[in-house]
């Protein structure tokens, strides 16, 4: 089953218990990769990203009846994924200290699913030093090139605050990498 392009039809099909399963299946197929990278860039580890992504879809499935269509479906899924990721990070203290950056870069390079060079590992380690929400803002803007308005709808933060957060994040990472090299 392909995903209907009209958001209203899609929501209607998700609400209808007869078409719900198939529509949700198409929704998972359409958005799982986008959400996977959104999560993976935050937690770095594939297995953690996999767990969070599964939780995200299960929560979305359980919450379909409560989704009133105020936001786009993808925005709604992004929000669930973001909350799940931030909860995971807060629980696991998934943040690198400035002093441990070289060790973190080496650890990233050793990851089975990392295919970058040492510079890229350093960049990832530097990103991991940022506070979780700022890290998310940086990833969404730098890698996904997402518009601030879209980010605002997902993160519930004003466009102005997001711009400021991104600029600060870029400055911090640049300064850090300059000192490191």
């Amino acid at each position: 089953m392909s995903l209907p392009t009209d958001e209203d039809i899609l929501i209607e099909r998700l609400r209808d218990t007869k078409t719900r399963h198939d529509t949700f299946s198409a929704l998972v197929k359409a958005h799982s990769e986008t959400l996977y990278w959104h999560i993976r860039r935050m937690v770095l580890d594939h297995d953690d990203a996999n767990d969070i992504l599964q939780n995200t879809f299960v929560k979305a499935w359980m919450g379909i009846d409560g989704f009133l269509g105020q936001a786009k479906l993808l925005t709604w899924l992004y929000r669930i994924a973001t909350n799940e990721t931030l909860t995971f990070i807060n629980k696991s203290c998934n943040r690198v200290d400035y002093d441990d950056i070289e060790a973190a870069a080496t650890s990233i390079e050793a990851d089975e699913w990392f295919d970058g060079d040492h510079l890229q590992a350093q960049l990832q380690a530097a990103i991991q030093t940022l506070p979780p929400k700022q890290r998310m803002v940086f990833n969404m803007k730098y890698y996904d090139e997402m518009k601030y308005e879209e980010m605002s709808a997902i993160l519930g933060t004003s466009v102005g605050a997001l711009k400021a957060s991104y600029h600060i994040a870029v400055k911090k990472i640049s300064d850090f990498l300059e000192n490191e090299n």
Partner: protein, 122 residues
């Protein structure tokens, strides 16, 4: 943005991570086979008791009784004011001649009226 351009130039925007081959297909299958049952949103209607139904009527009746008591109270106060005013007015009107005339009960009401309206009385 100077810093951002520098970062892009030096590190690029390439995703340095990969995912296991066939991961997304596997995830999809695993997820769809293990989805929990969704439960319809509970739409139990609140039980409407007799008391709940007549409550508005009771409140309205109580309000009317209150209003009636209030109006009666106001009327009572006004009447007692009027009474005292009448007594004061009656006291002001007291004239010994009238008493004398009434004392001699030989006169009829007409005579009393004539007496009071006569110019002599003025």
């Amino acid at each position: 943005m100077k810093d951002e351009d520098k970062l892009i130039e030096q590190y690029g925007k390439k995703q340095p991570f990969t995912m296991p081959e066939g991961y997304l297909e596997q995830l999809h299958e695993q997820l769809m086979n293990n989805l929990p049952e969704t439960q319809p949103i509970a739409t139990t209607e609140a039980k409407v008791t007799l008391m709940t139904r007549i409550k508005p009527l009771l409140y309205m009746a109580a309000m009317f009784v209150g209003i009636i008591f209030m109006v009666q109270g106001i009327m009572y106060v006004q009447q007692s004011h009027l009474k005292s005013d009448n007594i004061a007015a009656a006291e002001e009107l007291y004239e010994p001649e009238v008493d004398d005339f009434m004392a001699s009960s030989l006169y009829s009401e007409y005579a009393l009226y004539s007496y009071l309206t006569s110019t002599d009385y003025d």
